[in-house]
Structures are given as C-alpha cells and as structure tokens.
C-alpha cells in the first residue's frame, strides 16, 4: 500500500490518478499510523512553503515524516519541504536534504518556470530506463540548490536540483504525474525501489 500524504494542498488528485493509471494501490491519508505502516510514501502538493509546513505541523506529521524508513518521494512543494530551508517566506523545512530552496531570480527570466525542461546528470535507480536529456514537466517559482545528493539537474537560468536522494528519501521538483511516459517510468521505478 502507498500512502499519499493528505495535508490539504492541491494536486493530490493528480498524483492519485497517476498511481491509478499504473494499477498501484494507494490511500490518501493524514493518519500517522497509516503513513508509518505504508510500503511507500508520497508527499505531493502545490502551494506555498510556510503554509504547507504549518499544515504538516497541525496534523502532527513533522516527526512522522522525519522518522520514516520506507522509500519516500516528495514531489514539487514536497521535495522543497524535505529540504533544509526555503526562501519562500523564510521557512524552516524538514531538513532531510541539506539543500536550500531559492527563488528564480535573474533579469529576463520568466517566472514561474513552466513547461517541459530536460534532465541531465541522472543517477540512482529512480531514473532507470530514463535517458539523459529526457523532458519532464515543471511548474514552480522556487527550486532546490545543487549538492552531493542531487541525482538529476535541470537548467533554467542556472542549474538546480531536478531530483534529490538521501537514504530512503527521494524528491523531484518536476511533476512525474504530468510528465507523460517519462514520469510514468519514474513512478514505476519508485514503486520498485
């Protein structure tokens, strides 16, 4: 069973639909017990960092998420919440990944970064069967910086972490649930980890 963490943010439905298309069994839940006992945990979402952290805190999920030992995948705001800190309203995040989340800020750069952009420097089994240069779908104004845990890079004005992995935690800044066959392959890979 896959637990999709429900913390009252948009986009849960999209992720659930994508899991449904893969034939995976999932539950959308904010129950600590269900989340702890799941085989896989997904932290999806769209929205603003400080209010997303507040919602996790209200539901008593901060320590629950930090203590998970099964494979966990954060998507979009989900990966940002797994990072150390976000510039978005100066938010302390979960600190699983040591990355800082920064706003795109370059003259002439259109923000949000919206649309299909390519992946390079792919590492880990999360990207099995996915080629260098593959395109994935993005919608975001903030992105995690690069560090040793970066497992995929995208450039928009400058390079940022398209995906991060540390121990059992994974995260993608792009939306695999909206990234056609490449995204489906990534989700399948995650389910097989």
């Amino acid at each position: 069973m896959i637990a999709v963490i429900d913390y009252d943010t948009g986009n849960l439905r999209s992720v659930a639909n994508a899991l449904g298309r893969l034939g995976a069994e999932y539950t959308i839940t904010s129950s600590p017990a269900e989340i702890r006992s799941a085989d896989r945990v997904l932290l999806p979402g769209v929205g603003e960092a400080s209010s997303a952290m507040a919602k996790l805190r209200e539901r008593g999920l901060i320590e629950v998420i930090r203590s998970l030992t099964q494979p966990v995948l954060g998507i979009c705001i989900g990966v940002q919440l797994l990072c150390r800190h976000s510039e978005e309203n100066d938010t302390e995040c979960l600190g699983i990944f040591d990355n800082e989340v920064r706003k795109f800020d370059l003259p002439g750069l259109k923000v949000p970064h919206m649309g299909w952009n390519s992946l390079t420097h792919l590492r880990t089994p999360l990207f099995d069967g996915i080629e260098e240069g593959a395109y994935v779908y993005y919608v975001h104004s903030f992105a995690p910086t690069l560090n040793d845990d970066t497992i995929a890079i995208t450039e928009y004005g400058y390079p940022f972490s398209a995906a991060i992995a540390k121990d059992n935690f994974f995260g993608t800044q792009f939306h695999p649930e909206k990234s056609a066959s490449v995204g489906e392959r990534l989700l399948q890979n995650f389910l097989k980890l």
Binding site: R13, N17, A18, V46, P112, M114, G115, W116, Y156, G183
Partner: protein, 251 residues
C-alpha cells in the same frame, strides 16, 4: 533547456468536441477523452479544453468530463469557458484540472484574476485575451469576439499579470480561423512586455506559421485546433520540423 510547447485546443459542447470556424458554424470532431489521449501520445505538451456549452446541464456534463480527462491523461491540461467565480475555478480544480482560463468574466471583473490566483496560485490562472485591431489599436473583445470592451490588449495583459495571471493566451480575432499565420510583431511586443509565458492562438495554417510565432513572435507556446483535428498537420510532423529548425522542442 525549456521547450516551446505545442498545445491542441478542444472546444467542448455538451460533452463533445467541436471546432468553431471564426467561432461560428460548429462541427463535431470526436470524443474529448479519446482525442486528448491521442494527442498526448502524439507528443502534445499540454491540452486545453474549452467549454462552449450554453446551458447549466452542459456545464455539469463538462465538470464530469474534466474528472474523466484527469483520470486518463498523463500531461497537463487547462480548462476554460464560462468561468465566472472562484467557486467555478475551485470546482474544476477539484475535478482535476491543472489550470483554468478566464476570459470575458475577467474583463468584466478583473478582481476575479486576483481572487483565483491568491486562492489557488498564479500557475493555476491563464488569462485568455481575444482582441481585434481597430484603427491601429488592439481592442479587447469578449463573448467570443462578438463584443468590444473598453480595454486595450497590452495594458490589459499587463494588468492581468500584475493581478496574478500565470500565463497569457492571446488570440487575434482578425487572424483566428484564417490559417494565414499569427501577427508576430504583436506577439513579440506582448512577450517583451510580460514576465509570464505567452501562448499564441488563432491563425496557424502551416508549420512555418508556428515556427514564426515561436521565434519572431517570441511566444512560449502555440495553441491550435483545426490543423490538428483534421489531421492537416500531425503533431509528430510539426514537432520534428520545429526541432530541425533549432527550436527547443520535446520530442
């Protein structure tokens, strides 16, 4: 590198796909979910579904359709047509839409853009602008081009951006349905003015027209309907040709 997007647009009436020629003389061209899935497999980067139903029953059918689209399509999709309130937008978000477009209602009540953006995020709001040139000025029209508003294209697009629009979808009503190409100079000026993506709509008849609006017109995406629906320009052929022309494209 960020790719330029190719976006088929599907007009929906009472749950069925139609395409307007100059927004008049509608003709059915297929099942919306099947057609959308077909386009996604062919390499469409996004889909736009516009509800042109005039009745309450038609609107309800559309919401059910959005739920089915979300379950079956693995690329982003935008829905629009008759969205006049934050609740309308929220209902479509709940059904699984990635973005909504607002048009006439936003011209009437610009606060609608701010309200939807602050509740659901800028990325969720696409402001569609239909405009016609009158005495050298681009006048914004509403109701599918039938009514002139007091607004002018560039100032309205800028206001929409300031109010929280995530993208601007501009259709020249002088070019729509003609297949004679896009007004590229106008698109370039719009794109330079704005810090959000511009989607070009209305007028594509050839691959070169689309290449032009994505380069000379500086548009971030091109939206079209009939050239795809009637198989005049298959999406794989279009994307391959754009790629060969060194335009960043997802193949």
């Amino acid at each position: 590198m960020l790719a330029k997007r190719i976006i088929p647009c599907l007009d929906i009436k009472d749950g069925q796909t139609v395409k307007g020629i100059h927004f008049l003389g509608l003709r059915e061209v297929g099942d919306p979910v099947e057609l959308g899935r077909h386009y996604a497999q062919q390499g469409a980067d996004e889909l736009v579904y516009l509800d042109i139903s005039a009745t309450f029953e038609g609107r309800r059918t559309f919401t059910e359709l959005v739920t089915r689209i979300a379950e079956n399509i693995n690329i982003p999709f935008t829905v629009g047509g008759g969205i006049a309130s934050v609740d309308d937008a929220g209902r479509l978000l709940g059904a699984g839409a990635d973005k909504v477009t607002v048009n006439s209602a936003a011209v009437r009540n610009p606060q609608l853009i701010s309200d939807i953006a602050s509740k659901y995020g800028n990325q969720f709001v696409v402001v569609a602008i239909d405009a016609k040139q009158v005495d050298g000025q681009w006048r914004v029209t509403t109701h599918g081009g039938r009514k002139f508003s007091e607004r002018e294209l560039f100032s309205w697009a800028h206001e929409a951006q300031e109010r929280g629009a995530g993208e601007i979808l501009f259709t020249s009503m002088d070019h729509d349905g003609t297949k004679n190409g896009y007004p590229c100079e106008t698109f370039a000026r719009l794109s330079d003015l704005l810090s959000i993506p511009v989607i070009a709509s209305g007028g594509a008849g050839t691959i070169q027209h689309i290449a032009d609006v994505l380069t000379l017109g500086k548009a971030d995406a091109a939206l079209a309907a009939s050239i795809f629906h009637y198989g005049e320009i298959p999406i794989p052929t279009l994307k391959q040709a754009l790629y060969q022309a060194n335009i960043p494209i997802r193949l």
